[in-house]
């Protein structure tokens, strides 16, 4: 059931009253009828606006959902982005530590290289001096000199080997240093790129947030507008009800006037008219002749009374029920009566109203076609029309029962199949 149900009910009531009043109406009655037509037009217009607003609100909600989804997705991407950035940052920190250690090692190796080079120079200078500085032990000991020369060769060889070893180690460390510096540069470039991506994501998120805020503002505006429209419709219903009461009151007065004229005629002569019939007392659907029959076989999918609408998250007042049935199924009259209205009503498609007398009406909405026409008498079970065709094979019938201007629960009056 849509929020347009209440205005529809009021509209139907107004149409019924018009149906009663239009034949044999007085000028005052014609004024009321004109007022009712005007009010009906206004109601139809307001309902159309309400439906449009509701549709826009639905669209706004859909956009809001999409925008929230996009914001959530962007937030998730941003979280991933931050994790990636943190990972790169950790890697850069680790590389920087390695860089420091390697630089220190290179400095140490350079110092060792320099010291070894100096040692080597000193040793070479000592080795190639003309005389052994310490006298070489006994200068007349050629064996000692030979041994010392050999030891010097060994020492120099060791120094040269050490010098070359340190040089190679330094070259390796310098290569490692270059590699680490390249890695740091690559990581920093990657970090810059990721930061740019992150900034882009932030920018997009900000845009989406702004868009979401705009959508939310639009939604609130639409909700406010919808609320205002509903209030105006309610007021309009009140106006229509008042007019309905006025119509009834005039009808009662007309019957009383007719009765007095009847009495006057009777006293004036024997050929006077019969006394006026007492006003028809409101009846209950249960007291209808032949009882009530379900309009079709189906399942009630929307119940009577206050129901929660999950789309707008509001509580609405259903004046009737919706019955789901196979597409194209015939819709029958719930009881004996006369067709008071057959026409299109925005939001309800083709609507047919049957007057059962005594202030009892049954309203059938969302029909595909009519099989009866206005003013035609119908019996219980008479086919009034058919449900429309649908790709899903299921269609819905709107059924509303009104007694004395008040909507009652059809499920409590009509024996639906449970």
């Amino acid at each position: 059931m849509t929020p347009g149900t209440r205005p529809l009910s009021a509209l139907l009531a107004a149409v019924l009253v018009l149906g009663f009043l239009l034949p044999g109406s007085s000028p005052a009655a014609r004024d009321v009828a004109a007022e009712l037509r005007r009010e009906k037009g206004m109601l139809l217009e307001m309902k159309a606006r309400e439906e449009k607003t509701a549709s826009e609100l639905t669209e706004a909600l859909r956009k809001e959902k999409l925008a929230k989804g996009r914001v959530g997705e962007l937030q998730e991407r941003l979280r991933r982005q931050r994790r990636v950035l943190a990972g790169i940052d950790r890697r850069i920190s680790s590389l920087n530590e390695r860089l420091d250690r390697t630089e220190k090692a290179v400095r140490e190796l350079e110092a060792a290289h320099g010291k070894t080079r100096d040692d080597l120079r000193t040793a070479v200078s000592a080795a190639f001096s003309r005389d052994l500085p310490g006298g070489g032990g006994d200068s007349l000991d050629p064996s000692a000199r030979e041994r010392l020369r050999y030891l010097m060769r060994v020492h120099l060889g060791e120094k040269i080997r050490r010098f070359q070893q340190i040089g190679r180690a330094r070259e390796r460390k310098e290569e490692e240093l270059s590699g680490i510096e390249r890695q740091v540069a690559v990581s920093e470039r990657k970090m810059e790129q990721e930061k740019k991506v992150g900034e882009t994501l932030l920018s997009r998120q900000e845009e989406e947030r702004k868009r979401l805020a705009g959508i939310e503002r639009e939604k609130k505006r639409k909700e406010k507008e919808l609320k205002s429209l509903r209030a105006r419709i309610a007021r309009m219903e009140s106006v229509v009800s008042r007019v309905e009461r006025q119509v009834k009151e005039r009808e009662r007065r007309a019957r009383e006037t007719a009765a007095r004229r009847g009495k006057g005629g009777a006293s004036a002569g024997p050929g006077g008219t019969a006394p006026p019939a007492p006003p028809e007392a409101p009846r209950r659907f249960a007291s209808l002749e032949g009882g009530l029959a379900p309009p079709l076989k189906g399942k009630i999918v929307s119940r009577f009374g206050r129901q929660h609408d999950p789309t707008f998250d509001v509580t609405i007042e259903n004046r009737g029920v919706e019955i789901e049935a196979p597409s194209g199924a015939p819709v029958r009259s719930v009881g004996r009566g006369e067709v008071a209205f057959a026409g299109g009503v925005s939001g309800f498609g083709n609507v047919l109203i049957v007057q059962h007398g005594g202030g009892l009406f049954s309203v059938y909405g969302k029909l595909e076609s009519f099989h009866v026409k206005h003013g035609e008498a119908v019996n219980r079970g008479t086919v009034l029309g058919r449900l429309p065709e649908s790709p899903s094979g299921k269609s819905v019938l709107y059924l509303e029962l009104r007694a004395g201007g008040t909507a009652i629960d059809p499920a409590s009056a009509v024996p639906f199949d449970r």
Binding site: D119, P133, G134, P142, E146, R147, L151, V154, E158
Partner: protein
């Protein structure tokens, strides 16, 4: 026979004063010769010094332990050519190296491979020759723990040649001294024979054969020369001992005093005494004949 004069002691009876003087002179001369001979014998005419200067160095591989090196040094020392074999561990080698190159103390770094251990092989002076050195060097090179053998192949022949020259020089000088000694005592014998020529003529007139007289005098001179040579050599040996005690550094050149009692030295001394006796006898005989042949 009692009337026959003793020809052995005829010079002593006829010219006692001259004999004493000559004996004193010859003693000192023989002391000098004996001392020189002993020094040459002990020093091997310079060979001991050269042998002390020479050593074969076996450079060990770095993975040879000290125990292995000590065992190897002991085995080398047991070789008959070897006087000593001393093991120097790497630290000792490094210290020796630093003593030779005192400016390199700071060059040793922590963890640096030290210099290798070495075994210094020195030869006995009497085995200090090319063949023995070659045998030992070859034996050392065949040992797997030895990385290098430093035997001075480049300069060893020169060293050995210098040794030979020194030996020849020493023995030559000794020979000159001995010859001088012989010439001096020959002059003494001739002079004394000339001085006693009248007495010898008197004896010849009384039937004493000149030949017997000359041989008796020569025998007596040889005996006296041998005794004096023995005494002089002993004195020279004593002087040598005193010298080595007072100047120990000379042991490196001459040798230890204990080597004086070595059989080789004693045999050399005995030969010298014998030679001195023969030379004295020969000088007496030659001096007597010169007097008889030349008159004066």
């Amino acid at each position: 026979m009692s009337e026959t004069p003793s020809l052995w002691r005829i010079d002593w009876r006829l010219a006692r004063g001259a004999i004493v003087r000559e004996a004193i002179g010859r003693f000192f001369s023989l002391c000098f010769l004996g001392f020189t001979l002993l020094v040459i014998l002990l020093s091997g005419a310079g060979t001991r010094y050269l042998a002390g200067r020479y050593a074969v160095t076996a450079v060990l591989r770095p993975d040879v332990s000290s125990a292995e090196a000590v065992g190897l040094a002991k085995k080398i020392a047991d070789l008959p050519q070897v006087r000593s074999a001393r093991y120097r561990d790497p630290e000792e080698t490094w210290k020796e190296f630093l003593r030779a190159y005192p400016g390199l103390e700071a060059l040793k770094e922590a963890g640096e491979t030290p210099l290798p251990g070495t075994i210094e092989v020195r030869f006995r002076p009497e085995r200090f020759n090319g063949s023995d050195i070659g045998v030992v060097s070859t034996a050392l090179r065949s040992v797997s723990r030895v990385d290098q053998v430093l035997a001075g192949e480049e300069w060893l022949p020169g060293l050995l040649r210098a040794g030979r020259y020194a030996s020849g020089l020493c023995w030559g000088v000794f020979g000159v001294f001995l010859l001088g000694h012989f010439l001096v005592i020959r002059l003494q014998e001739r002079g004394r024979a000339a001085a006693l020529a009248g007495d010898f003529a008197f004896l010849a007139e009384r039937g004493v054969p000149q030949r017997r007289l000359s041989f008796s005098r020569a025998a007596a001179a040889a005996a006296a020369g041998g005794i004096l040579a023995a005494a002089g050599t002993a004195s020279g040996g004593g002087a040598c001992v005193l010298l080595l005690r007072e100047l120990p550094f000379l042991e490196g050149w001459i040798g230890p005093p204990a080597a004086l009692l070595a059989p080789r030295t004693l045999a050399g001394a005995a030969l010298f005494v014998l030679a001195a006796a023969l030379l004295s006898g020969a000088a007496s005989l030659l001096g007597f004949r010169a007097v008889r042949a030349g008159g004066k």
